[in-house]
Amino acid sequence: MGSCSSQATTIPDVDTIRQEIGFSQASLVRLYRRFRDLDRNKKGYLCRRDLRQIGALAVNPLGDRIIESFFADGSYSVDFSGFVRVLAHFRPVDDEEIQDPKAPEPLNSRMNKLPFPFQLYDLDRDGKISRHEMLQVLQVMVGVQVTEEQLESITDGTVQEADEDGDGAVSFLEFVKSLEKMDIEQKMSIRILK
């Protein structure tokens, strides 16, 4: 007859996480419960298989790539602090938060939110989205519904539009520039209910 208490005291490294990442105590408790629910064999960490078992994620065409973003540098497992660190990028920007000018930029700032979708395009992590990588992403998103030629022409058009220095690829800065009017803070935020 075990207890299922998930108070903050049982979360590993809770103080370091709170300082670095900025989630509230209550949010951390919820996310920890979620982490434990996903960790089916109670290993203490998540592997790719645990995330793949989420049905709604498996039907997302970019599901596999999103899962990859949790596993930095090809590692096989992600612990709770790593899990929360990735999710922190999606924390809504709270205008009331006092920004300490000396502290490093918070994880959920605009500039820190953007590398995330960039990485979904840039598979080989070379800092540029090549034409080939763009084509691959499009193929994943549409499956067999659109012909090869259509996809190629769409890819060419998009790369041309965003590419400013003419190297045939979209670098991170060019990516940021093409999205400068977008309300990234709002579109890439997930709010945890209090």
């Binding site: 007859m1 207890s3 299922c4 208490s5 998930s6 108070q7 005291t9 209550a26 408790v29 919820r30 996310l31 979620r34 629910d37 996903l38 089916r40 995330l51 793949r52 078992q53 989420i54 049905g55 709604a56 994620l57 498996a58 039907v59 997302n60 065409p61 970019l62 599901g63 999103i66 999710l87 999606f90 979708p117 979904l120 395009y121 992403v137 499009l138 998103m141 549409v142 499956g143 067999v144 519904q145 659109v146 259509q150 769409i154 058009g157 998009t158 965003a162 979209v170 990516f175 093409s178 999205l179 009017k181 977008m182 309300d183 579109k187 890439m188 997930i190 709010r191 945890i192 209910l193």
Partner: protein
Amino acid sequence: MFLLLPFDSLIVNLLGISLTVLFTLLLVFIIVPAIFGVSFGIRKLYMKTLLKIFAWATLRMERGAKEKNHQLYKPYTNGIIAKDPTSLEEEIKEIRRSGSSKALDNSAEFELSDIFYFCRKGMETIMDDEVTKRFSAEELESWNLLSRTNYNFQYISLRLTVLWGLGVLIRYCFLLPLRIALAFTGISLLVVGTTVVGYLPNGRFKEFLSKHVHLMCYRICVRALTAIITYHDRKNRPRNGGICVANHTSPIDVIILASDGYYAMVGQVHGGLMGVIQRAMVKACPHIWFERSEVKDRHLVAKRLTEHVQDKSKLPILIFPEGTCINNTSVMMFKKGSFEIGATVYPVAIKYDPQFGDAFWNSSKYGMVTYLLRMMTSWAIVCSVWYLPPMTRETDEDAVQFANRVKSAIARQGGLVDLLWDGGLKREKVKDTFKEEQQKLYSKMIAGNHEDRSRS
């Protein structure tokens, strides 16, 4: 020391006698009403008292939390993140509109920002999805004095701990032995009774006896779990030649339904105690037990069920189409097998109140014996059963649509969330075919516009 001996044995004797008398009285008070299907209302009173105590306990915990200036952990039934119920198309259009510096150009084929939609949706499902949370026990809003459901340990005061200790004493030292004794009685009566009835020649008398033996034993088992069941719309109870379908939360569902009606059970042949019970039951009336090898053969299963259903003298079949235990907050995909047979379907919705004891069987966490022990050391199992009006398959719908229609009716009545996901996701990955749905939707946005352009 020698002086104590006769004194000791006297006390022991007295204790033994009083316990025996107590137990016998209790057994008589509980078993006799079970035989006749009568209730004294003791369980309802018990339930009301418990509710008052739980409310008091939660108040004290909130007070304790306020003193320490913390917030109590409160579970959320609607998910932990704020979600917008917009469609793929709407949201991508909005993303494009917010980032586009050009005039509202509806025929944009693809934008770099489209990926934001999939990215965010993916993250949302990682933080909270509809299915994973259905396979762990439901969280309670107020504490019910069981340590297994406590999320706020540090706020328990001394008084509360004493109360909890008292609760443990009552549940383990009084209720548990009583319940085990009742369960033992119920099961042995079932086995013996059905075997004896099996020796009688087939006829009306045999059927009558068989029905009452079954009902009596199930009622004893119901009392063994201290199950407080409220039946609604009993006029819609399943009739011969029909199939009764219900949502599945635990093996106890069978006991709950079978104590109010006489059904033919369907299932796999088990070994051990279950096997003994199954073999005895089938002597008295025709239940449908499949060998393990036969279960894989869908045609064989369908054939046997159809034969049974077509014989109007045979009992209604009891089936749980979800195929696995779900935690009673939602209803998952119904397997279409039982809906292809063409019989009248009698849907039944079962909703447990987890306040008194969570009946959900998390088979990956607990084995059968541990589960039964947990059931017998809870306060009570409280549930409501609704018998819904019978449904038949319309001419223009196929088995899957019919199954979904029945499922929605059950979900609506029981106040459960109606999900299209397969309960098998507990153990397996989702099929790739579902990904195509999303891809099709997105392709329409990209390619649809391209076609318009090439046409004009």
